[in-house]
Structures are given as structure tokens and as C-alpha cells.
Symmetry: C2
Subunit: 344 residues, 2 copies
DNA sequence: GTGAAAGCGCTAACAC
DNA sequence: GTGTTAGCGCTTTCAC
């Protein structure tokens, strides 16, 4: 006998009693598809009525224990909460949440902190059924995931043999963004990436898009991609003889900083320099001047990732391996005041 | 017999077998304080050794079921992810996470969405043992929480009879911020709050701090607090004959917007207008010009909230009621370029 | 078609 | 001091 406060929770047994059947029948009705078992419509209806009448809701923990599933999805990320998780409206979370909720899955945030093994504990304790890895899949994380055979989907990270990945069409986006600048008459266009994100696959992809656009415009000699510290890039920009008339910045955070640096060095944006970037996230619309940017289809990506995760959990017993690397092309260009026609 | 893949997980029974005792003895050693039961040091050591040797880790779901605890803390918020949750380094999450982890609690984010009862389901399903409510405790939420007797702590929200609250010392902060402006020679200082946050308690508190500072400086006739739409405030600022030389902005997001508006209307910051605000969060350091702001002690608040929640869960069986409204005064002023000496 | 019964892994009251 | 046992609420196999 337990001493825990006898909760007034309605249990399966209550429903079974009320409808005059066994708990297993109730369980069947609640969990299985009609074609997976035989039962008279009459009985089923009686059970359904009882469920409704009593307002029965299954006990999450009990179900988890019996099924060997935690019904948690771990959201793995390193350091601070990633940008793509922060924006809720039309952001990735908005895509994930409804789909996971419907499947009775909840999201648990798991920061990977330096000097803490908490994340590893969570995984090896099976406190999650699957993981969404954000931005980057480090080797040590991948190893743990593989070893524990925890299904995982990588979002916005380097595509990898071992794990399905959801990414935006970086090439297409960068190409379209560069084309926008070309159409404004710019020819001398640079691309800048902070050295610290150098290893991320999307860097190469966005650069490729930029390069393709330049080449198609017959400006291949003008191609110039910089990977350096922020301050070094600013120095370069300030000191160079023939300054470019436009810069494509790999990341919106850097673009915001670039605007500040231009202000410090009295470079007028967009008169003397057009600035364009990726991600229509805060605060790109509120800086000086408002930034032209590519809006990423994070909602769709979130939805896709959620479905993929659920599938993988489903299939994990079958040892099926899902291996897709979709490219999401639902991006669109948001033109604001940081880009303008090139000055004569 | 279950068909679930026989996991190779080490169970309590394994430990018991290996150390030649019963599962209950192992359970005692693992869960109770030594003073709560009798056991020979020998036996205890044997059990501890077996635990270590086998690498035993308790099954989270099973424990949850047996104890009637989900070991989840729900983080309740409305709409988008609140600012105070976003910054991870030295932010509230950094305060919460280690403490909750240590107590084997994990955080589950629960957005309160319009038109969705998902949050209510989560609560009534007891999928959380307690809740951290962020920014605002709406009546409908409070009612559900009370009815279900789910312990909750409000952070950064209006203090209320029914629920313990962790807040910053808004009065002190606003006073110090205003004093900074006064020391720079400003006399004609306004305060601005977006009308949409009007109901938040901290508005009145920050206003009170601002007013106190003004009064103590003998400038009570200069006190001017505005609650209006952003655009209306900007109009006011642009059109007024004698423009203030400084503005205290209730929220950093609005301060960022204000800088943009000043730029549009060719009001030089800080030469013609000093701008000061609260919260040293992104992107205040990266706007034009960098914003002077009050850094909030969110880390401490997070830590305190975490401890409070754990206590409340512990005490909930005893029907003890915790009712504290601490004020955290670990703030500090960060002076940047948006404030300067008043021009003659 | 339906139900009995054996778990899932752990906790805790109580007996010895 | 230590073990026995009865749960926690649900799922699933298998017998009827």
C-alpha cells in the first residue's frame, strides 16, 4: 500500500469499471487503430462514452514506464540558446511544438555545457526518446547518440552520413541575395563570415551561392570571401583603397555589428555600402538602418524535423534507417534600407 | 511478459543480486539520508560498490511512477520565448539549470498559446510537479494552477497574494539609472513605457524609482512618464518645443527602437538626447550608439527560483505555504555611449 | 470479441 | 538491520 496522497485521478480501472469491461479493452480502444483488434462497435462506444463521461486522461508516467518510452524529445544545443530557437512566431519552435504535442511528446531543452556531463546523463538515462540537435553535431555528441542508438535529427548543421539533417537551401538563398545586390547595380560585392563559424557547412554553401551569382553576372574576378575576426574585417574594409559597394554577411548578428562598425568609421549605409544578410530575426528590422535579409523557412523546417523524429522513434525498433537531407526552399527576400542602388 | 526489446539496462534488482541484498535495501541507500534508516556500514558499502561496479542508474520513468512525481518543472510563458529566458550565459537559465539538474529535475517549456489548451493538459496531466511562470501570471493560468494545487513561482511578474514571486529591485535600479543621468547634468528627463506592457507591476516600480531620484534632485516638476504607443511617443518627442535631454526607457527592446526612430528624425543620440534602459541583453551593446543600461541579476534570480520551487515541491505534501517576495539587488549599471553629459 | 495476468523498475510500509 | 510484499497506472500477450 502506498502512502502517497490518494490522488483523485481517474484511472483506466475506473473507466473499465464504469463501462463494464476490462482495462485491456479500454487500453486497446485508446491506443490501437480499429483494424488492429476486434471489438463490437457497441462495446467500443460504451468505452468511449465512459472515457468522455469521466474525463479520463492517461497517466503519462505510467504509460512511459509500460511502453519503455519517455515521450520526451531532447533539444540538444551548445552554449547559449541558439538563435533559431529563440523566435517563437513562425520560428522553428512553432513548427515543432504542435506536431510533437499531438503525438504526446514534450520538448526538453538540454544545453551541452562545458565541464558538465548532465547532457550525457540525460541521454544514457533514456530520459529522451530522440534528439533534435541544433546547429552543430560535435563528434563526442554523435558518438554518444550512436552508441545509445538514440534517433536524432540535425537542424541547420553540417550534413553527415550518420544522421538525417534538415537544412535550408543555402546556395539558392545566397544566390538570390547576391542577385538582389547585382540588380541594384553593385559589382564590387564582398562576402564576410566570422572566422569562428568557419567550420559550419552552410558557410561553404552560402559562399557558393554568392559565387554562382557573381559568375553568372560575369563578375568572377570580383569574388571575394573573407573569413576573419570581426575587427580585422572592419579594418580591411576601412583601409582598402577601392572599397566594395556591398557586403553579404553570413550571419545577421555580424551584420548588426557591421552596421555599428560602419557608423564608427563614418561609412554610410547604404549610400557608401550596402549590407545584406541572412535570417529575418530580431533585431534586423530595428537597427540603423533596417537590414535587408533572407527570411529562413524555419517553421517548415521545424515541422519537418518533428515528423522525422516521430518517424524515427517509430522505426527505431525495426532498425529502419531514415537518411534524408532535404533542402527547404521556402525562403524569401526581405528588402529593407540597408541595401540601395549603387552610387555613381 | 513484455515484448519490448529487453534493454540491457542495469536495474535495481541487478544491484540487489550482485550485492546479495533485497531491492528495498538498495533503494534505501540510494534515496534516504543515513539517519533515516538502520543499516550496517558493511552492507551499505557493499551496495555502493555494486552500484558503482554495474554503473547503475535509476530508471527515471519507473521512479516517477512510483513516487507520483514527474520530475519535470514546467516553464510557463505566453507567446514568444521571453527575453529573460533567451540569454543563457549568466542568464536565468544558467541559474535554474544546475540546481534543478542536481535534484534530478528537468525543465519543460510550456508556451501558452492562444486557442490551444495544450498547456492546461500538461498541467492537469501532472506532467509537471511545479511551474515557473515567466513575466506574467494571467488569471486563467492562476486559477488552473490553484485548482490543481501545482506549486508555482512567478519570476519578473506582478507580486500576488497567491504565489511567491522573484523580482528585481526595480525601484532601486530605476533610481540608480536616473541618478546616472542626473549626474551627467540632465534635468529634463522623461520616462517612456510602451502602452502594451502597461499592466506589468515593474512599470510602476521603475517609475517610482525614476520619480524618487527626480524628487531627491529637486526636480519634481520635471517628472514626466509616458505610457503610449511607440509611434505616438516618437511624435511627441519630435514635435515638442522643449525636448527632454534624456529618456529612461522601460524596456531595452523599446530603447533599441527608439534609437532607430531618433535616427529617422535626425535626433542625435547622445548629443541631443541621452537614452538609458534596463536589461543588459542582446543587442544593447551592438546598436548605434551602444546603450547604457542596468544589468539585471538574472542568474541569482534563477538560482533562487529553482531552490524555491524544489522547496515547494517538497513541502506541498505538508501543505506548507511558502510566501516570500524577495527583491534582488545584484544589479549594476553598464555605461555605454547612449548617455552623455548634457549639452549646454 | 473480451479479459486475466504478468510485467515495466522502483518505492515504502511493515514484518521479522 | 534487512527482506517481503504490495502497489504506482498502464500495456500486451495469450487464453478463452
Amino acid at each position: 500500500m502506498s502512502t502517497l496522497a490518494a490522488s483523485n485521478q481517474v484511472t483506466l480501472a475506473d473507466v473499465a469499471a464504469k463501462s463494464g469491461v476490462s482495462t485491456s479493452s479500454v487500453s486497446k480502444v485508446l491506443n490501437l487503430q480499429p483494424e488492429q483488434y476486434r471489438m463490437s462497435d457497441q462495446t467500443r462506444q460504451r468505452i468511449l462514452d465512459a472515457v468522455a463521461a469521466l474525463g479520463y486522461r492517461p497517466n503519462f508516467q505510467a504509460r512511459s514506464l509500460a511502453k519503455g518510452r519517455s515521450h520526451n524529445i531532447g533539444i540538444l544545443f551548445e552554449g547559449s540558446l541558439p538563435t533559431i530557437l529563440r523566435d517563437n512566431d513562425s520560428g522553428m519552435l512553432s513548427g515543432l511544438e504542435p506536431i510533437l504535442s499531438d503525438a504526446a511528446y514534450q520538448m526538453v531543452f538540454i544545453p551541452i555545457r562545458q565541464g558538465s556531463d548532465e547532457w550525457k546523463q540525460m541521454l544514457s538515462d533514456r530520459r529522451v526518446d530522440a534528439c533534435l540537435v541544433v546547429n552543430k553535431l560535435e563528434d563526442r555528441v554523435r558518438q554518444v547518440l550512436e552508441q545509445l542508438r538514440i534517433p536524432a535529427v540535425l537542424v541547420n548543421g553540417l550534413a553527415n552520413e550518420s544522421i538525417p539533417t534538415c537544412n535550408v537551401d543555402n546556395v539558392g538563398m545566397a544566390k538570390a541575395l547576391t542577385k538582389h545586390l547585382l540588380e541594384l547595380g553593385h559589382q564590387h560585392i564582398w562576402m564576410y563570415t566570422n572566422i569562428h563559424v568557419h567550420k559550419h557547412h552552410s558557410v561553404a554553401e552560402r559562399e557558393s551561392g554568392y559565387q554562382q551569382a557573381m559568375i553568372e553576372a560575369g563578375l568572377s574576378e570580383q569574388i571575394n570571401s573573407f573569413h576573419m575576426e570581426f575587427d580585422a574585417f572592419v579594418q580591411k574594409l576601412v583601409q582598402i583603397q577601392q572599397r566594395p559597394s556591398a557586403v553579404v554577411v553570413y550571419q545577421h548578428l555580424e551584420a548588426v555589428r557591421l552596421l555599428q562598425a560602419c557608423w564608427r568609421h563614418d561609412i554610410k549605409v547604404p549610400d557608401q555600402l550596402s549590407v545584406a544578410t541572412f535570417n529575418n530575426a530580431y533585431p534586423v528590422a530595428h537597427v540603423i538602418p533596417p537590414l535587408t535579409t533572407m527570411a529562413l523557412p524555419m517553421l517548415q523546417i521545424g515541422e519537418h524535423a518533428a515528423r522525422l523524429l516521430l518517424e524515427m522513434i517509430e522505426d527505431s525498433s525495426n532498425n529502419k534507417v531514415v537518411r534524408t537531407v532535404p533542402r527547404f526552399s521556402g525562403w524569401h527576400l526581405v528588402v529593407r534600407e540597408s541595401t540601395a542602388h549603387v552610387m555613381a
